[in-house]
């Protein structure tokens, strides 16, 4: 809509897909979740099972824009726009979500991390339609968190975001960990090197600090130094450890109103 205002309509037809019931469905079967591409941020955030299973997705949805944007904007739109700062992307990537793409030849499935090629570029082909995302909820007992840093408390574009999932086994060792960052990389991806560092370890401040340094190293490796790097390396080196601490320790679950 914003682009159309600046350029005028550059197409001869526009199809409204928002009324297709299948695209608006949220289906939860056990720990398997299927989220239609046209589910709005407001509906995703208000869905009781989704909130219970993946609170960080609700957090991300409620961090976008204000009520008007949340009432109209969709998870599918957020992903397909493929902005580096899109708030649902690190969450979906941390969940290893699969994107379902319908085309004339049938459906294909692609990890969200592979759907995004570069900022504002996706692997969607002419004639293809993003229909849904599917993912498994984090293991029972796992915690998840979405942290966003913006310049103000609403209607703010992420300067940096972190999505993390973690679980500690009975022996006190990390047996499940996922970490993804937003607004820091040209395309969203799990920081698997950081995850590997943490997996199987006993949660401790020293470990988190190492993980933070590793996260920064991964970011620098991918992006090199940009104008904003000086800020992001400092912020990420502290937010990544914080996110890991929050999901790996017995702390109360964070909320949208919790200062990150």
């Amino acid at each position: 809509m914003v682009a159309m205002r600046q350029r005028g309509p550059w197409f001869d037809r526009l199809v409204d897909i928002s009324a297709i019931p299948e695209l608006r469905e949220i289906v939860v079967r056990g720990d398997q979740i299927r989220l239609g591409a046209c589910v709005t941020f407001a509906r995703a955030a208000a869905h009781p099972q989704l909130r219970a299973l993946t609170p960080m997705l609700a957090e991300a949805c409620l961090s976008i824009g204000g009520p008007q944007i949340q009432n109209v904007g969709t998870v599918g739109g957020n992903v397909a726009n493929a902005a580096a700062c899109a708030d649902t992307l690190p969450v979906l990537v941390a969940l290893d979500a699969q994107a379902h793409i319908a085309g004339a030849a049938g459906e294909r499935v692609l990890p969200v991390s592979e759907l995004i090629i570069a900022p504002h570029h996706t692997a969607l082909q002419q004639g293809e339609l993003l229909t849904a995302f599917s993912f498994a909820a984090p293991p029972a007992g796992a915690r998840s968190i979405f942290i966003k840093v913006g310049r103000r408390n609403a209607q703010a574009i992420s300067r940096l975001s972190v999505a993390a999932i973690g679980h500690v086994d009975a022996a006190g060792l990390v047996d499940h960990v996922r970490l993804a960052v937003g607004a820091a990389l040209p395309r969203p991806q799990r920081l698997t090197a950081v995850e590997a560092l943490v997996h199987g370890q006993r949660p401790a401040p020293g470990l988190y600090a190492l993980a933070g340094a590793q996260a920064v190293a991964v970011m620098l490796d991918i992006t090199g130094r940009r104008w904003s790097t000086e800020y992001k390396e400092v912020a990420l080196s502290q937010l990544a450890p914080y996110a890991l601490a929050r999901v790996l320790e017995d702390a109360p679950l964070p909320t949208r109103f919790d200062t990150p």
């Binding site: 350029r7 005028g8 103000r152 209607q155 574009i157 300067r159």
Partner: protein, 778 residues
């Protein structure tokens, strides 16, 4: 107040019912049969010479009715006061990105845009200067007009304050502070963009509805650039969707562009700005670089202040001459000194130009001096609030520029009020002991004094008319505009109080140069005192006639008359209704119509000596801000805010408190997120997605305390509130950040990077946002 019916009592804003129902029509809501839509071609270069301008191809575009350039105006459309350096449409040169070059009127906005595309305009870029520090270099390209005094043409103006000899005294001081501060340009961000509608009249004149602040100034400029006698130009004030100082120059240009197009086409012409055009073309709060040196005795007595400031006026002078004077007068803050020198210089650059914005120079210097005062308190090991109380101006004191404060000085009371309300002593102590951790809390204070109205800047007067209509309602006019401030309600309540009538009986007519009286500009928080006194005098004059009529009707001397509600009661104790009194007055041949004009007491400022009486009275106030700072990200949240203001007297409580809340919110934005940054002359934020102002989730609940130290010349003792409500908010917040983090942010805004890293990260879009914003089709 005892015995008062309406003053200081909760009231209904006179224009609120129309606003909550959406019935209020702003300029963009006006539609007339045959109306044309106008747009301007604007410069994409910060500095260029116009080598070729041919607008005739635009006339061949279907739907285009008229095109104008600077050649369509008298003296090429030059205007400006006190420096006549601006044009209605650029003449020969452009000096900033977004400067208007030509204007087209067409049947539709799309046809107007097509017309702009057809204009042949060749601009040859010139060397430009964007840093105020480099503006006066011998080889800097000339931006300002030629000067006869041999000074650099990019030098615009300077203002001084002089007391004693700081250069000699400062080295003698046992404790000295020397620090540099800077503030960025700020966008007014009124939610209604600029606009005007011009309608040609059969007599060859023009009626202009404008979203401006000062319709009489608009009329003066219109008559001058159109070459029309003043009686052929009528400016009617349209409802204004926010202004804050921002609806002067650019709206006068838009008015004149619409008027010229209307006269040329013979049809009504409306121009309204898309947000990008508004941000790119409009003037901003000036950026200022400041250096403050303070000297004090170990016991905490302030001795010396030496303040220098360099104000970037951008491409044109606009109000900077006056801004720099107000900045100079307030630069040392509301404190006593033995020695004080202030030097404010302003220069031209090729950035967008600077004009009036709430606080008008004081907002900028207050940021510097109120942090410096805090830093000095730190250096002395004193509590910053107690340090202010020790040194602040009190009744009977003399200001640094030599004005004895003889009445209405409530600063110490304001400081004590915020100290108590905020729990200052307990919280400061608690936060000083907080454990090291990622989230840190802090509490900061800042004080303000702010001269009311224009002061020695200019002739200070306002006028009102009042009359009783056939239906017994009362029509009140003012030459001053209510652009959202509540002034119309203030005038209504004052007139109602004087007349003893219900406020609902009074209709405040919209300012109109044909029906209201010239009252100077609606600026400088002068409405309540100047406009209020004028309304009060007008109502008193009308009241005399009504009292005379009542005495005649009730057959008693005037001093035997009593009032019960609107009715008069004489010795017979039989009430005579308002209508009966009015009828009787008319039967006596009285014309129930009166004027009121109030001029401020004369004061004198010696600009050569940098001394004098600057303003007739001063507003005083103090803010305390409480913040949390996330040490991992630099994110600052303002979690509490206490604002105490000595307003003299409160006329319209919800209105006065609304000014305080809104002022604090603007100051919060200024402190933490707002930055109209120019890179090589190109504004980097052109809409609300990149120019961020506080949302409802960024502003905390604010405790507002209105203190009343009546001013003898103010209406019912009232002074002012709108501007000073904003001024100390940003330094209070930055002082709180310093308290929380131990780090001081001396450059605004205190955004994520400055708080986390100690400096900003600069990034330029290469002019892309401006180019897109100026090129968009509709």
């Amino acid at each position: 107040m005892a015995g008062r019916q309406f003053i200081g009592k909760p009231a209904r804003r006179v224009d609120a019912a129309d606003k909550v129902t959406g019935r209020t029509r702003y300029v963009a809501d006006y539609q007339l049969p045959g109306m044309l839509y106008a747009r301007c071609l604007r410069s994409e270069w910060p500095h260029a010479v116009m080598t070729h301008l041919d607008v005739s191809p635009a006339l061949n575009v279907p739907g285009v009715a008229a095109v104008i350039t600077s050649a369509d105006f008298v003296d090429d459309g030059r205007f400006g006061f006190p420096v006549r350096d601006q044009y209605i449409l650029a003449h020969e040169r452009v000096r900033h990105v977004g400067e208007a070059i030509a204007a087209v009127a067409a049947e539709t906005p799309e046809a107007a845009a097509a017309g702009l595309h057809a204009i042949r305009c060749e601009l040859e870029p010139l060397p430009a200067v964007f840093e105020s520090a480099q503006a006066l270099a011998p080889d800097a390209p000339q931006i300002g007009p030629d000067r006869s005094d041999g000074r650099h043409p990019n030098f615009l103006h300077s203002e001084i304050v002089r007391l004693g000899d700081p250069d000699r005294a400062l080295p003698q001081c046992p404790v000295v502070l020397d620090a540099a501060y800077s503030v960025a340009q700020q966008e007014h961000a009124y939610l209604e963009t600029e606009g005007a509608l011009a309608i040609p009249t059969p007599e060859g004149g023009v009626v202009v509805y404008a979203s401006n602040q000062s319709p009489f100034i608009n009329r003066e400029i219109l008559a001058s650039v159109l070459g029309l006698p003043a009686d052929r130009v009528r400016v009617i004030q349209a409802p204004v969707g926010g202004s804050f100082g921002g609806k002067d120059d650019l709206n006068y240009q838009a008015s004149a562009q619409c008027a010229a197009l209307a006269l040329k086409s013979g049809r009504p012409v409306r121009m309204t700005f898309p947000r990008e055009e508004s941000m790119i073309a409009s003037y901003k709060r000036d950026a200022m670089h400041m250096r403050v040196r303070l000297g004090a005795l170990p016991n905490g007595d302030l001795q010396v202040c030496k303040f220098t400031g360099r104000l970037d006026s951008g491409a044109y002078a606009s109000q900077s001459v006056f801004t720099s004077w107000r900045a100079a007068v307030h630069a040392m803050g509301a404190y006593r000194y033995e020695h004080c020198h202030v030097d404010i210089d302003c220069v031209y650059t090729n950035n967008g130009y600077a004009g009036a914005f709430r606080g008008f120079g004081n907002t900028e210097v207050c940021f510097a001096i109120e942090q410096a005062i805090d830093e000095m308190a730190d250096a002395l090991g004193q509590d910053p609030l107690a340090f202010r109380l020790r040194n602040c101006l009190r009744l009977g004191d003399e200001t640094a520029f030599g004005q004895r404060l003889e009445e209405s000085v409530g600063l110490a009371e304001c400081l004590e009020a915020v100290r108590k309300a905020s729990g200052w002593d307990e919280k400061r102590a608690a936060y000083a002991r907080q454990p090291a951790g990622p989230i840190r809390r802090g509490l900061g204070v800042a004080a303000v004094f702010h001269g009311t109205s224009l002061g020695a800047e200019g002739a200070d007067y306002a006028a009102s008319t009042i009359s009783v209509a056939e239906d017994y309602s009362i029509a009140l006019t003012s030459g001053l505009t209510d652009y959202g401030t509540g002034a119309a309600t203030v005038f209504t309540l004052i007139a109602a109080e004087e007349l003893g009538t219900r406020p609902e009986r009074i209709r405040l007519l919209r300012p109109d140069t044909n029906t209201s009286l010239e009252s100077g500009p609606t600026v400088a928080s002068r409405s309540t005192m100047l406009g209020g006194n004028a309304a009060r005098l007008a109502a008193q004059n009308l009241r005399q006639m009504l009292d005379f009529a009542a005495a005649s009707l009730l057959n008693c001397p005037q001093n035997r008359l009593l009032r019960v509600g609107e009715a008069y009661i004489g010795p017979s104790e039989e009430p005579a209704t308002w209508e009966r009194i009015v009828d009787h007055a008319r039967s006596l041949g009285l014309i129930l119509s009166a004027h009121g004009r109030w001029s401020a007491p004369h004061i004198h400022w010696d600009s050569q000596a940098g001394r004098g009486s600057a303003y007739i009275a001063y507003h005083f106030g103090a803010h305390v801000a409480e913040v949390t700072v996330d040490m991992r990200t630099g994110k600052t949240d303002v979690t509490g805010f206490w604002a105490a203001h000595d307003v003299g007297a409160t006329i319209f409580p919800q209105g006065a408190m609304g000014q305080v809340y809104g002022g604090v919110a603007q100051g919060l934005g200024y402190a933490l997120m707002e930055e109209a940054r120019y890179e090589a002359g190109y504004l980097q934020a052109t809409n609300f997605d990149t120019y961020l102002i506080p949302t409802a989730k960024d502003v905390p609940d604010i405790t507002c305390i209105l203190l009343e130290k009546p001013y003898s010349q103010g209406p019912f003792g009232a002074k002012n509130v709108a501007e000073p409500a904003m001024v100390p908010a940003a330094p209070a917040i930055c002082n709180a950040i310093a308290h929380a983090t131990g780090r001081r942010v001396r450059d605004l805004p205190a955004n994520l990077e400055r708080v986390l890293l100690g400096h900003a990260l600069s990034h330029s879009d290469g002019g892309l946002a401006c180019k897109i914003g100026l090129a968009r089709p509709r």
